[in-house]
Homo-oligomer: 214 residues x 2
DNA sequence: CGGGATTTTGAATCAGTTCAAAATGCGTGG
DNA sequence: CCACGCATTTTGAACTGATTCAAAATCCCG
């Protein structure tokens, strides 16, 4: 069963904080961020979603939504009514377990973000984030040779990493100079994956992917 | 149906990283932490659990466990076999939804930790953490008048907040001087809850408690 | 070619770290 | 009850990673 995928322009709020939609959104193409904004106006991105992710599975069982959801790039999305999810849960109880699993993995990734923000310096923090995003993309999209489209601003990166935009810029320069990333204008490539993983201390176990990448 | 609660001494690893137990642990009394350790030896606590929490509900559906679990204080725990959880899920499908809900709330708390580490300075970070823990305790335990037993070392706090132990010490002094906490030897008290919430920017929505406290 | 967004650079400042030592608290055994 | 020893807290001072502010350079799109 398929829904027509909708095109969405870049940098659009898919769902605002406090909204209570009766559909969940499946990301078909593009990148979306879940974020929170503090009183002082600063923003923290709390999760990044890749194609195949349920972007607000939460809203199926939890209200109100305690964070905003916004696209990072142009996206294609597909709306799945909560009524359908409920039906699935009732007629195929074993699929309900899949929902639980999705929620658990979401939490596992979130916990690794806590580690990333709490205990890694800017350079390793960036490296780890790129490892995570690449690994997730590799599973879903046809990604060739550790290169992937990543049309995201340094401000957005700053909000993912809990850093200032200026420092993100300097951090990226460091990673470039260390030959761990190539990223100027086009897609990001990680020329030496082994070195990158080693440097970032990246262990993909927490992603709980079925086909663990090498 | 009840299990005998087991006594556990303070600062004991309940479950080590990589373990695959066939039971989940319900926390009856005390505080436990889930943590990750980096290559360089630094530790980050990724979640704190209060009585009533399933401490490793994860392990029911996800393996291997990607983090360690350790007590912060002496605890009483109760082991619930996975087989039983599976039975419940099969015979009472609607309870499976409760499991999903638990997992979602766990994730929501984790995301707030990301915000706390990413975008709040040391003082507000500590304040927010104390607000969270107090609010969770208030629901479960008989806690009187914004005072609660919190026998945790400053090192443990440092690992929750992604700070050095020394800076935690100075941060606590600040909070004491601002009259936001009283904490010397005995239980921690928050003499002016309104001021504390205001200062920390604490909004308990993300905890998704049924009986929202004032 | 022009204009807004984004990236890059510089310099001063600040929040938090590190290292080291002193002070305090606390349980145990004499 | 005191003395000892270990864990924890507190203090100081030097240092460093990241922030802030401001301006210049570059990019991209129409």
């Amino acid at each position: 069963m398929l829904w027509p995928a909708t095109e969405v322009a870049a940098k659009i709020d898919l769902i605002g904080e406090g909204d209570c939609p009766s559909v969940s959104t499946l990301l078909v193409d593009g990148l979306v961020a879940r974020y929170k904004v503090l009183e002082n106006g600063s923003r923290q991105i709390v999760a990044v979603h890749v194609p195949g992710d349920f972007v607000d599975f939460n809203s199926f069982l939890i209200r109100p939504l305690d964070h905003g959801i916004s696209t990072l790039t142009p996206c294609r999305i597909s709306k799945v009514p909560h009524a359908l999810l409920r039906d699935i849960g009732e007629t195929h109880p074993h699929l309900m377990r899949v929902f639980t699993l999705m929620a658990l993995i979401d939490g596992a990734i979130s916990r690794e973000w806590v580690v990333n923000l709490g205990r890694r310096d800017a350079t390793k923090r960036a490296a780890h984030l790129f490892c995570e995003i690449y690994t997730l993309l590799e599973v879903v999209v046809c990604v060739s040779d550790h290169a992937f489209s990543f049309p995201v601003t340094q401000s957005d990166l700053a909000d993912m990493m809990g850093l200032s935009q200026v420092h993100v810029n300097r951090t990226l320069q460091d990673l470039r100079q260390m030959q761990l990333i190539e990223w100027t204008g086009g897609p990001m490539t990680i020329p030496n994956w082994r070195a990158m993983v080693e440097f970032a201390g990246f262990d993909p176990t927490y992603l709980h992917l079925v086909n663990a990448p090498r």
